[in-house]
Amino acid sequence: MLSKRIIPCLDVKWGRVVKGVKFVNLRDAGDPAELAVYYEEQEADELVFLDITASYEGRKTLIDVVERTSDVLSIPFTVGGGVRGIDDIRDLLCAGADKVSINTAAVKNPQLVKEASDIFGSQCIVVAIDAKRVLKSERPSPKGFYVETSEGEVWWEVYIYGGRKPTGIDAIWWAKRVAELGAGEILLTSMDKDGTTDGYDIELTRAVAEAVNIPVIASGGAGNPHHIYEALTVGKADAALAASIFHFGVYKVRDVKKYLAERGVPVRL
């Protein structure tokens, strides 16, 4: 049976992992390649590197990180952040990334999703969607994909530029659109929940997972194993991404997988 995936996410700036990482027994906890191996040993199913450098010189550093990581890692990893076009995608794949995630560039030019998946194959094109809740009563959705919640009817708006710029685009509509254009997977981040550690946006996750026929990775808000369990069951996500709960060493990936396995969620252990 296909297992649900647990995916630690590493924020990388100038070739270094930046989010508060507190590990013991690591020679260099800021080195992405070394952390990647640590997570592989913890039975992470995949990894995501999010580059937050956003400058030309920074790209070169990122390519070096990807090359060094692929030398030592034998599980798949996705690289995202600042990917603008076909050349960026090619550079990252050739450096050893298994998948490349695009976000702002896809919104600005949706044909990029089609072009990239035609050239490289859908399997390596991930579209990242940053979404934020909007109450219908305050502002209706342009596409009318509403979900009934305890706050009333809501929809989710797509944000770009690292969550700084609202687009007016309905996230559920956008998810369906990128799936049609050939995206192989959606990395769905709730901006309302990101950084809170009080759980994923289950309603958003479920709405998108039910709307598309490609895998959906839930992201934003994981604070404990139960949150991950909810995203994978009630939320119907295919994978769960988490950052701080793993980085701070509060939970190990293996502990989360054991928790899930005990509750009947198929995981690789």
Binding site: M1, L2, S74, P76, D118, F120, G121, P215, D238, A239
Partner: protein, 203 residues
Amino acid sequence: MVEVAIVNYGVGNLKSVKRAIERAGARPIITLSADDVAKAGAIILPGVGSFKSAMEGLQPLMSTLREAISRGKPVLGICLGLQLFFEWSEEGGGVGGLGLMKGVVDRLPSSVKVPHMGWNTISIESQNPLVEGVPDGSYVYFVHSYKANPEDPGNIVATTVYGVKFPSIVWRKPLIFGTQFHPEKSGGVGFTMIKNFVSMARR
């Protein structure tokens, strides 16, 4: 040191396969040259690109490849590489394959999310040198939208269920092997298969 030719017919991550071959003690050569393929002790058809682009890329190598196969040189097809072994694929509107195994390649059923992406288990149906030391039920990493349908059950080494049961490892005697999953991305279990393959190149 034995050389393993990794045929470079598509754009994608070939680095992981290359590193796995190195770790298994062989010298990988990423190439589209017929000479390199002829000289190598084993050949890998990797899982990058589309069926059509891969068949086009293979055209200049076709006679070399067939000769190598007729002489019993080990060949490993990974993901798309496995699919190329068959007669025809519906990917890209219908494209002819290498025809080394009888059967066609078609899309995974629409009852499940496609691509089939992630870790799934393999049921080993017949013993085979590629899976020596690999426990039945091991998790391996898949990412694919199409599956092979071998006409000869003798080609099937292992199966996996995703919407339907499909062959996750195939072989043709003596040494043509295909894995629908990516052994180079499948942790220790995958590496065992890579090592098994490389050891055949040495014999």
